[in-house]
Point group: none
Chain length 460, copies 2
């Protein structure tokens, strides 16, 4: 039996085993943003080291960082084989609002073809699909490529330790290409390849009024309510065309040319589908761009959180002393995240009234990334997906941020093939996050083909 | 010794007794909003019944309501004497944040001239000052007026049972004038009379976007963020002159005439004092009105609470499904609180974009109140305060709402003289609430004079 067929057969006979291992890893509540779950993040790291040992990768270890630990592993490095650096993360988002979950987020529940759990689609299942692909290929002998694994536990908090770690381990991490398993598949029958990711700049804005909460009857009408002032400032951050008004925000944005607009127009996503999936009464966004363009190729500014005053049941007549917003900008090539804070401060300097005080705190930043669509490695991925799904993958840009892709470009000089087997409706970061299981099994097949294609010098 | 002198002398010899009785009542933690303190509210009611019996008022009893009990009492009703309905409340606010108190809120501590305890200035001490005034006058013979007492245990939760109780006991409560002891004194040397209170209309606005929280990278730029939409709606509720933009909001507002503006200009309150007291960088408010006018004679719209998305520590890249604001309007004569909800809905109908859905919930309403400044009863109060403090009281409007005043106007057809002996810096509702003791003793004198003046047909 040829190498490909035997590996595919190996995986097909172990579909239930893959689901079982996913359930086991999903049971570890590795929420990186909550201090009380630091131990769980470390536990997930050790679980993965054990799993890599199990499939025969002897060098696999937990490595400490100033923050949460990561996992490094490598197969024996054979010269004349391409070296592939595999990236994944094993931390997850918090579960709130917990009351909106239909089952325990850390007790994975299979309902129909979907596995429901926090971290299922983002991205423990895709990571274990890759591991199974490696296991399947090892079963037939040596691996066709040299593998290095870099798996982190801080992705959901913006990868604070990763840039320094990569910088300090340039030799260890040297590779020809990266495979980033944190991508998305368009539908169970339609594969896609992501060639660009948005960057991120995340801030907290706090507006201060009086030195303490006051009675809204006794004081109302004499002070600028900080919640109102904050709303005024946030409302002014978009104009009527849905464009961000921070000064200079669009100056560095790489414009879309006709060829790229044609590529993106192939993405089969309609406004109606998006509206139905999200449940909004009508879509919204920057005038002059299609939905797909707005989602991947244009920068945004979102309010992620807002809090002030009394938020419990019923009525309390308080005039709050302060109001807080969490906001984040998604950035595209060639915006520099380090410039954004200056633009935000310039906006606040210009628009904040003298009746309140404000402060801005930096909560993380990551560069965007863009990769050539016609490289040898991209074509290897294209063929692997085509042969697995029986459909030509289309190229898309993703709206989310995977900081490591830009960091690897900067520090290691390598591009990432971003592919993963989460579907767009997987409720990533929300309640009832889920992974479509048949697509996960296709993912194992696609990873097997990708690794073989990357090793195949004929594949051009 | 004339009647007045003997009563004043009686009270002066019993200053310590008054403080002792305050300490005793303040030890009962009658927090009406906390279910675990229901028994304490009932205990405070019974304590007051016993106290009224002690000073010789035989008909004093606890009366049940669908909520917490109240106290009703009356002296023998003699014809040809004016009847005065005395209002007070014996419930208190919660004590949180408890760690900011310098002493146990229910173990009253005298430091310097201040008695520190929850409920001291709001309003157990003023209530017991009135009781001592009655005791002092009774000592000299019959009371000069007929008294009825209506003391409630639900004021701090918005007096939910009081309107029906008053409606169902119109005959029992019939009187010529009300004395509401829940007012304020400007300073230890400067008395004041409140002739108007603002009303209230309190709402919750919820804005809905997607059917659940989404990833702000994957979805950002395609949907109208409900937190942003809510900010846009709230920001639009004031114009650049600080005026409320709800359609028709000012239509019924009674304008200030020159005479009333002159009266309010006498209130000794400067912008600088207010800024220092509150700690804001600069004052704010409706253009064209002084601070004192804005605080009492002009309606407002305040954001009392705001919440959306992720509000914990750190960063979460969520695009929230919904956003909620609590807002309340303070109303002046002749605004009808029942009209305000329609104005709010009309504003939202006009300004809410089709990209979101919204709903409004009613969280309570109360009428404003205004009393003629030149009535016989107001002049009786004016003279009592003048003679006690040796200074002409000024007339002021209060920004807060005391629902019972409007309800008594509507249901019993009587005005209220609002006077109490809490100072403005008394930390009412906050930590380290306090009552200035010398001002409390002046309060007893002023109440004695007020009751004599109300009985004096010469006093015009």
């Amino acid at each position: 039996m040829p190498r490909l067929e035997s590996a595919l057969e190996f995986a097909r006979q172990r579909e239930q085993e893959l689901v079982d291992r996913c359930v086991e890893l999903l049971a570890i509540p590795s929420i990186s943003t909550l201090p009380e779950h630091r131990g769980d993040v470390a536990r997930a790291a050790q679980w993965l080291v054990d799993e890599l040992h199990r499939v025969g990768i002897e060098r696999a270890e937990v490595m400490e960082t100033p923050g949460l630990p990561l996992v490094y592993a490598e197969t024996p490095q054979v010269s004349d084989r391409p070296t592939v650096l595999v990236y994944g993360h094993f931390d997850v988002q918090p579960t709130d609002p917990i009351e909106e979950w239909d089952s325990d987020p850390f007790d994975a529940a299979l309902r129909g073809e979907e596995l429901f759990a926090r971290g299922s689609s983002d991205m423990k299942c895709s990571l274990l699909a890759f591991v199974q692909a490696v296991e399947a290929l090892q079963d037939g002998g040596d691996l066709p490529v040299n593998l290095k694994f870099l798996l982190e536990g801080e992705e959901e908090v913006g990868s604070p330790s990763l840039p320094d770690f990569i910088r300090e381990h340039r030799d260890l991490l040297r590779a020809d290409v990266a495979v980033n398993c944190d991508g998305e598949t368009h539908s169970p029958t339609q594969p896609s390849i992501c060639y660009a990711l948005r960057g991120l700049a995340y801030f907290e804005i706090e507006v201060h009024g009086a030195k303490q909460d006051l009675h809204s009857g006794v004081f109302g009408g004499s002070l600028h309510n900080p919640a109102q002032a904050l709303c005024e400032l946030l409302a002014g951050m978009h104009d009527k065309d849905g464009r961000v008004t921070l000064p200079g925000f669009y100056d560095a944005v790489r414009p879309l040319d006709d060829e790229e607009r044609a590529v993106l127009a192939r993405v089969p996503l309609t406004d109606g589908e998006w509206r139905a999936m999200t449940g909004v009464p009508a879509l919204w966004g920057e005038t002059g761009y299609t939905l797909v363009e707005r989602l991947g190729a244009r920068p945004t500014l979102e309010v992620n959180g807002l809090v002030s005053g009394f938020t419990g049941e019923g009525a309390k007549t308080v005039l709050p002393a302060k109001a807080l917003a969490k906001i984040s900008m998604r950035l595209v090539a060639d915006q520099n995240p380090d410039d954004i804070e200056g633009q935000l401060r310039a906006y606040l300097d210009q628009h904040a009234p003298e009746t309140i005080a404000w402060e801005v705190r930096d909560l993380g930043r990551a560069p965007g990334a863009i990769t050539a669509r016609d490289s040898r490695e991209m074509r290897a991925a294209q063929r692997a997906l085509h042969d697995t799904f029986g459909a030509e993958p289309f190229f898309k840009r993703e709206g989310g941020s995977v900081p490591v892709v830009g960091i690897m470009q900067q520090e290691l000089g390598i591009d990432s093939i971003i592919t993963g087997f989460r579907l767009p409706n997987s409720n990533m970061h929300g309640p009832n996050e889920k992974q479509h299981v048949p697509t996960l099994h296709k993912g194992v097949e696609a990873f097997i083909r990708l690794l073989l294609n990357l090793a195949d010098s004929e594949c051009t």
